[in-house]
Amino acid sequence: MTQKPTLDVRDLRTYFFTKGGVAKAVDGITFSIAPGKVLGLVGESGSGKTVTGFSILGLVDQPGRVVGGEILYRGEDLNKVSAERMRELRGVNISMIFQDPMMTLNPVLRIDTQMIEAIRAHEKVSKEIARQRARDALGQVGIASPDERLRAYPHQFSGGMRQRVAIAIALLNKPDLIVADEPTTALDVTIQGQILYEVQKLCSQTGTALIWITHDLSVVAGLADQICVMYAGKIVESGEVNAVLDNPMHPYTHGLITSVPSKNKRGAPLSQIPGMAPSLLSLPKGCAFAPRCKWSNSNCQEQPDIRLAPQNRRLLCHNPIEYNNDNIRQETS
C-alpha cells in the first residue's frame, strides 16, 4: 500500500460489561482504509459490525467501552483524544450514516435546522451561508426542489428521501471518512441502486474513504475495494474484494457466499450455514465458528492465529478451504 491510510485500526477491542458477563462485541480487529477506497464490512447480525462503526466515532454507549487497540485517523489515535477533539472530528472529518433512515432524523426539528446546526457546530458561518450549503448538499444527493424540502419535517419524506437527507448531512462538511452502517438495508432495490451510485461517485470525486457495513454480499461485490468478514467480534477473513468473493478461504465466508440465491443455482435447494450466530456471552472455546463449520476438527478447539495468504489476504482459520495448495503459507503475524 503506497498511499498513507486514512484510517488504520489495530487490534481494536470493544467490550460490553453487562450483568450477564463481558460481551466481547469487537475483539481484536485490524484493518485499514486508504483515501477514496471503499471497505466492505460484512457479517451476520450481532457480529460486531455496527459496534466497530460506533467505536471509530467514539459513540459506544454504556455499558460498552473501547478497552484496547488503536484507531489511527491520519496518525491520530482516536482512543486517546479528548472528548472535545473527538467532537470536532465527528461530522467534519469522520461522519456516519445510520441503518434506519426512519429513526436518524429528529422528528420534531425541520430539515434545515438539522442541517444548519451540523455546519454551525464546526464553523462560524452565517445562517444564510449555512443554508446555502445545506441546499447544495440536498441537490447533490438528488433531492428535487431543495429549497422547499429544507423547510419540511422528516415525516414528510419517504424512507429513501430521508436516507438521502442523512447522507447529505454526512457529506455536509466534506469528511475524509464516512462510516455507512447498512444505509440501504431498509430501502427498495431501486433506491438502493441510486444511493450506491451517488455514494460511489462522491467518494471517487472527493477522495473520501468509505466503510460500508452490510450483510449484503452483492452490494459489497459491486461497491467495495476491500472486504472484511466479521464473525463473533473478529475479522475472520479480509482482502481484495474480488479475490475473497471468488475464492473464499474461510468456511464462514464460503457459507455466506453459497447462501446467496443465484440464477445459476435455480431449482437446487439453497445451502445454508447450520445453527445460528453464538451469543457473545457464551462463545465456544477456540474458533467461534467451529460448532457450525463442516470442516472443523480437534485443532479448532484452540483459537486460530491470523494467517497471511497471497494478495494481502488475512484469515483466521485452522482449516482454510484450499483452492490451490500452494496458495497457503502458514505464518503467524
Binding site: D61, T104, N106, A121, H155
Partner: protein, 325 residues
C-alpha cells in the same frame, strides 16, 4: 385548522350540556339548603315563603329548565347567602385562584423540567436518586399536611413568610395580583409551592422518563455523530421531544390545579374561589356550587382545546385537521 376548532367547539357544547345536568342533579341530591338558611324559630309559613322565593317548590326538571334558560342568558343564579349573582361572586375571586395556579405551574415547570432532565441524563448519580426519592414524597404526602408543616416551619418557627392572605395587591390589566410586590410575593410563595409540589413531582417523573427514552433514540446518536455540542443536543434535540408529553399532561392538569387549589386555599386562607366553594358547600349555597362547577367545566374544555393547539405546534407530525369519518 378552523374546521377543527369549530368541530371541537360543537363537541365542547355537548359536554357542557351533559355536565350541567349532572352537576345540577348532583347538587340537588346533597341536601336541602332551607334547613340551614331558615332560622330555627321561623314558622311554617315563613319556611314556605322562603322555599317559594328560592324556587325550590317546583319539580326537579322544572328547576333544571329554569336554571338552563337563565344560564343561557349568563345568569347562573343568585347566592342564597350573599344575595348576589353567583357568577359575579366567583369571577370576583377567580384572579386570586388563577394567580396561585399559574405561579404553581411556573414553579412546577421551571424546577421540574431541569431536575427531571438531569435525573434522566445521570440516572445513577446520587443527586438524581435523591431527586427521584423527593418526587415520591411530593406524590405521596397529602397537600394539606405539607401546607400545615410549611406554615409551622416558615411562618411560626422561622417567621420568614406570612401564613395567610394575599398581602399587597396591585391591579394589573384590570386584575388584582399579588406577585408584583414583595409583600404580595411573600404571601403567594408558600401556597404556590404547596400547590406545586404534586405537579412538580409529576413533571420531574415525566421529564426523566422522556429523557431516558429519547437519549437512546438513533437521532440522538446521529446528532452526536454530526459533532454537535452536548448542550445543543440536550437543549434542542432532547428537550423538544420531551416537551410533548410534559405539555400535554401539564395542560390537562392545569384545570386540576385550579380545581384542587381548594385544599391549599383553605389551609392558607387564600381568598380564591376554592375557598368560596368550601364555604358554600358548608352552607349548601347551591347556586354558587353549581356556578363553580360549571366554570370548572368550561375551564377544562377550554384548556383541552389550547393543549391540542399547543401540541400541534410542538409536534409537527400532529396537524390539526378535520378527521374524515
Amino acid at each position: 385548522m378552523s374546521v377543527f376548532i369549530i368541530r371541537r367547539l360543537l363537541q365542547s357544547g355537548v359536554v357542557v350540556i351533559i355536565m350541567s345536568f349532572i352537576v345540577f342533579s348532583g347538587v340537588f341530591l346533597i341536601g336541602d339548603p332551607v334547613e340551614i338558611l331558615v332560622s330555627d324559630d321561623a314558622d311554617q309559613e315563613e319556611r314556605e315563603e322562603m322555599i317559594k322565593s328560592m324556587g325550590l317548590d317546583k319539580p326537579f326538571l322544572v328547576q333544571y329548565g329554569i336554571f338552563v334558560s337563565k344560564a343561557l342568558k349568563g345568569n347562573l343564579g343568585e347566592s342564597f347567602v350573599f344575595n348576589e349573582p353567583a357568577l359575579l361572586l366567583i369571577l370576583d375571586r377567580m384572579p386570586a385562584t388563577m394567580e396561585l395556579a399559574v405561579v404553581s405551574l411556573m414553579i412546577a415547570i421551571i424546577f421540574g423540567i431541569p431536575l427531571g432532565v438531569w435525573a434522566g441524563l445521570k440516572p445513577d448519580s446520587w443527586a438524581s436518586k435523591s431527586i427521584m426519592t423527593g418526587s415520591i414524597l411530593g406524590f405521596s404526602l397529602p397537600t394539606f399536611w405539607v401546607g400545615i408543616m410549611m406554615i409551622l416551619l416558615f411562618a411560626v418557627m422561622l417567621g420568614w413568610l406570612p401564613s395567610t392572605g394575599r398581602g399587597d395587591v396591585q391591579v394589573i390589566l384590570g386584575m388584582p395580583l399579588s406577585i408584583f410586590s414583595w409583600d404580595g410575593f411573600s404571601h403567594v410563595l408558600m401556597p404556590a409551592v404547596n400547590l406545586a409540589l404534586f405537579k412538580l413531582s409529576m413533571v420531574i417523573r415525566l421529564a426523566r422518563a422522556g429523557t431516558r427514552e429519547v437519549l437512546h433514540q438513533d437521532y440522538i446518536k446521529f446528532a452526536k455523530a454530526k459533532g454537535l455540542q452536548e448542550s445543543r443536543i440536550i437543549l434542542v434535540h432532547v428537550m423538544k421531544n420531551i416537551l410533548i408529553p410534559v405539555v400535554t399532561v401539564l395542560g390537562l392538569e392545569f384545570g386540576g390545579l385550579v380545581a384542587f387549589s381548594v385544599v391549599t386555599e383553605t389551609v392558607f386562607a387564600w381568598p380564591g374561589m376554592g375557598k368560596l366553594l368550601i364555604d358554600s358547600i358548608g352552607l349548601l349555597d347551591r347556586p354558587i356550587i353549581v356556578a363553580y362547577l360549571m366554570i370548572i367545566v368550561f375551564l377544562f374544555v377550554f384548556i383541552n382545546l389550547v393543549v391540542d393547539i399547543l401540541y400541534s405546534i410542538l409536534d409537527p407530525r400532529v396537524r390539526l385537521q378535520d378527521v374524515k369519518s
